[in-house]
């Protein structure tokens, strides 16, 4: 696949990958395209050769109608390749969609709870973080729009919901995509490998503003993440006190506080 580092193909292959499980997808991608390239070349050469020979002035076409042995050969070999692909991809599918990350709580292995609740609506993303009670869907949840901060180097579980139509949570650089069906709560997980800022886009047609439904995800270290979240909680309680009961409910804050937080350290 080295050809894709050469102009004019540069940058026209998979984008950078910042996810652990995404590596298995990239590996499969390369493998499958290599197989395809080989089959394409072989069939292409056979076709070209057959056409070339035909141009060399045969008097009469060679008469043959079938060949059972050939049929068996070219059923079994592709069949074998297809079965191999079907079995080979299972591990990647398991890691990406079936094996919910576990964690130890009091020595018992349990499913890791979602860190953030992602709510999609026409045409924005809402990110709800647990407040000081460390539980989602309570009154002290923190709420951000279109911008999310997450820790890297650990499994992150997100709970996806939609308020209106089907959306799809697609982060190309994390190799993550999941349709969000209204009425279902979908769990996805990934482990980012490094500090990065990546685009989150909607991949299921949701109306006229579908193209504009994008967000940013920023990965920071666990320590930075914790101090950022604490800071947000403080900011929220401050603003709640400030506006007394006049506002209440959800308070929207901004991602810019991350950089303030970073410079403060």
């Amino acid at each position: 696949m080295a050809a894709f580092n050469i102009w004019p193909l540069q940058g026209l292959w998979l984008p950078d990958n910042y996810s652990e499980t995404g590596r298995t997808i990239d590996h499969l991608w390369t493998l499958l395209h290599t197989i395809c390239a080989v089959i394409f070349l072989v069939t292409g050469i056979v076709l070209a050769w057959a056409l070339w020979r035909a141009g060399t002035g045969l008097n009469k076409a060679t008469y043959f109608t079938h060949n059972t042995r050939l049929e068996i050969i070219w059923s079994i070999i592709p069949g074998g390749i297809l079965v191999f692909i079907a079995i080979y991809q299972m591990q990647s599918w398991n890691e990406n969609k079936l094996l919910h990350p576990k964690e130890l709580v009091n020595g018992v292995s349990v499913s890791r709870p979602p860190l953030v609740r992602v709510v999609a609506r026409r045409f924005s993303w809402e990110f709800h973080y647990p407040g000081s009670d460390e539980k989602l869907e309570t009154i002290d949840d923190l709420y951000f729009e279109n911008e999310m901060v997450l820790p890297y180097g650990e499994d992150v579980v997100l709970q996806l919901e939609s308020r209106d139509v089907i959306h799809s949570f697609f982060v190309p650089k994390l190799r993550v995509k999941q349709d969000i069906i209204p009425g279902h709560a979908q769990m996805i997980w990934f482990q980012a490998t490094q500090e990065a800022e990546v685009a989150l886009v909607c991949a299921e047609l949701c109306g006229w503003g579908h193209y504009a439904m994008q967000g940013r995800i920023k990965f920071v270290s666990r320590a930075e993440f914790d101090s950022w979240l604490t800071k947000q909680m403080e900011l929220k309680s401050l603003s709640q006190k400030g506006s007394a009961a006049s506002k209440g409910g959800l308070v929207q804050t901004s991602l810019e506080t991350v950089s303030i937080n970073e410079s403060g350290q």
């Binding site: 035909a54 949701c206 006229w208 504009a212």
Partner: protein, 583 residues
């Protein structure tokens, strides 16, 4: 078989009631019940709709190459309110209608409607279809369908903009025009079902003596299997469309969960399941993929065999592969839904059935290659397009195998990789097959040949332009470039893909220009083409035994079939073809 009935049909057909007069004209050319006239009606209508669908595609390409800039000529006509720009709402209408028209009004009716109608009775040796009136109605039902579609585009506000897949809740809660769109689709579905019943009956019941099932040309096999798929899958789609229409019109909740936010406030009723639509829709629409390719596969097999002067290699495996594709086509629909939220264990079983269905497709490709191997090839325009079909199908088939792997879909589902794949199959294969068939059977249909030089030029430009248009889309998809984005460049990561998109648009314009050549050639040859005889290609199947164009009733006397349709270059014979009707 049932040929005794044919005479009685004949007398009721209006053709013997005397020429002249309005009723004679209406009965013969408008509400015709002759399968050949109906076939030509389908052909001309679908070619016109192809122009409409193509222009819609060019508008989509315009927006992707030069977002929000004024479109020349059409911009001022269509979007004068926006000052010549495409609005994001209308962009969604554009790709929705492009897909709808191309699938339901071009590819399906041109294959089954035009060529199925024209060729089936001629190829099996029948005087007409089993149900001529039903046949006539199946054509005329397409017009209310098309009327609904076009009318829906001009509904105030916005036209149908939920994509051709029309996923609820979007298609239920938003867009005034979706109801008309659904109605149009129901009409076209019923039209297809009528056709399918007719084709199955004709092929099973009205074959000439000696025309056993395994002596039928591959074209007829393709049509038979397509019709069976339509007859079994379309009722499911029609039921689903009615349920969706009911959700829209009568406030039912088949496909709606409770508590959805709508423009009119929160919708308290619910309890439905949006995923149910996707299951029902793809239960039809995956077999539809084969409905859109099997007849072309059949026709291409016949054309390859004729211009290589060789029998189709492995006739029986070819037929069995088609049957296998049709049978398994019903159990692979879930591969459209790997990341839809469907049970992930289910994905694995759909993966396995999808891998299985790749096998007969592969076998067909190998058999085509073996058919070409050792042939004495005449590179006519029809043959070039048939070869184009095979090579494009290899690319489309290979990317299909890549896409069948669920983890890969995590990356490329709903991106341009998918767009590249199905355009390789639908344009590169199906439409190339249609072009091959038009060049091949035009002499039979009109008694004149199309211009070969123009045809070859048409192929050359189309072949290059198709690859320049659709191959780079794989790269867009690899980058995660999503489908159905009015302006993908609002996302920072996709901004550098603009030049590639402009290149694709230039290639698409070249492709459209090549089709202008085709239309000039087609309509010019109708009047000025070289006159031809009954069997200009020295082909074997029964349609070449009758005059070009064939008279009403097709055959002067009962044809008797002595052998299969592929006895080309038989050793110890002077002539290199041995027609089915020659003893």
């Amino acid at each position: 078989m049932n040929n005794n009935d044919v005479t009685s049909q004949d007398s009721t057909n209006g053709h013997h009631a005397g020429r002249g007069g309005l009723f004679w004209f209406l009965g013969t050319y408008v509400f015709a019940r002759d399968h050949k006239i109906i076939g030509l009606q389908f052909l001309f209508s679908t070619l016109i709709w192809m122009i409409v669908g193509g222009l819609l595609a060019l508008a989509v390409r315009w927006q992707l190459a030069w977002p929000w800039s004024n479109m020349p000529i059409f911009g001022a006509l269509l979007f004068s309110a926006e000052g010549g720009q495409i609005s994001p709402e209308f962009y969604n209408v554009l790709f929705t209608m492009h897909a709808t028209i191309m699938i339901f009004f071009v590819v399906i009716p041109i294959l089954a409607g035009a060529f199925g109608n024209y060729l089936i009775p001629l190829m099996v040796g029948a005087r007409d279809m089993a149900f001529p009136t039903l046949n006539m109605m199946s054509y005329w039902l397409l017009w209310p369908a098309f009327g609904c579609m076009i009318a829906s585009m001009w509904v105030p506000g916005t036209g149908p903009s939920a994509g051709w897949t029309s996923y609820p809740p979007l298609s239920v809660l938003f867009g005034e025009a979706q109801g008309l769109w659904l109605l149009g689709l129901i009409f076209s579905g019923i039209a297809s079902m009528m056709g399918a019943i007719n084709y199955i009956t004709t092929i099973i019941q009205m074959r000439a003596p000696g025309m056993t099932l395994l002596r039928m040309p591959m074209t007829v096999w393709g049509m038979l299997i397509t019709s069976i798929l339509q007859a079994f899958a379309l009722p499911v789609l029609t039921a689903a469309l009615l349920m969706l229409l009911s959700d829209r019109m009568f406030d039912t909740s088949f496909f709606l969960a409770e508590g959805l936010e709508t423009p009119a406030g929160t919708r308290l009723a619910g309890g439905g399941e949006p995923l149910l639509w996707q299951h029902l829709f793809w239960f039809y629409s995956h077999p539809a993929v084969y409905i859109m390719i099997l007849p072309a596969m059949g026709m291409v097999s016949d054309i390859l065999s004729c211009f290589c002067r060789k029998p189709v290699f492995g006739y029986r495996p070819m037929v069995f592969s088609m049957c296998a594709i049709a049978g398994m086509g019903f159990i692979v629909w879930g591969h459209h839904m790997f990341i839809s939220g469907m049970n992930y264990y289910l994905s694995v079983s759909f993966l396995i059935s999808t891998m299985l269905i790749a096998l007969p497709s592969g076998i067909k490709v190998f058999n085509w290659l073996a058919t070409i191997w050792g042939g004495k090839i005449e590179f006519s325009a029809a043959m070039l397009f048939a070869l184009g079909f095979v090579s494009m199908f290899i690319i489309g088939g290979l990317s299909g195998v890549v896409m069948a792997v669920p983890p890969i879909d995590i990356m490329i589902h709903d991106t341009y990789y998918i767009v590249a794949h199905f355009h390789y199959v639908l344009f590169g294969s199906s439409i190339f097959g249609v072009f091959a068939a038009i060049y091949f059977w035009f002499p039979k249909m009109f008694g004149r040949t199309m211009n070969e030089g123009l045809g070859k030029l048409h192929f050359l430009i189309s072949f290059i332009a198709v690859n320049c248009t659709f191959f780079p889309m794989h790269f867009l998809g690899a980058r995660g470039f999503p489908r159905r984005y009015a302006d993908p460049y609002v996302v920072e990561e996709f901004r550098d893909l603009l030049p590639l998109n402009q290149f694709i648009t230039y290639a698409a314009i070249a492709m459209a220009a090549a089709q202008v050549l085709f239309f000039l050639n087609f309509f010019g040859s109708l009047f000025f083409g070289k006159r031809t005889t009954e069997n200009p290609w020295h082909a074997n199947s029964l349609e070449w035994s009758v005059p070009s164009p064939p008279p009403h009733g097709n055959f002067d006397f009962q044809p008797i079939v002595y052998r299969g349709p592929y006895e080309y270059s038989v050793p110890d014979r002077d002539e290199d073809h041995w027609p089915q009707w020659v003893e």
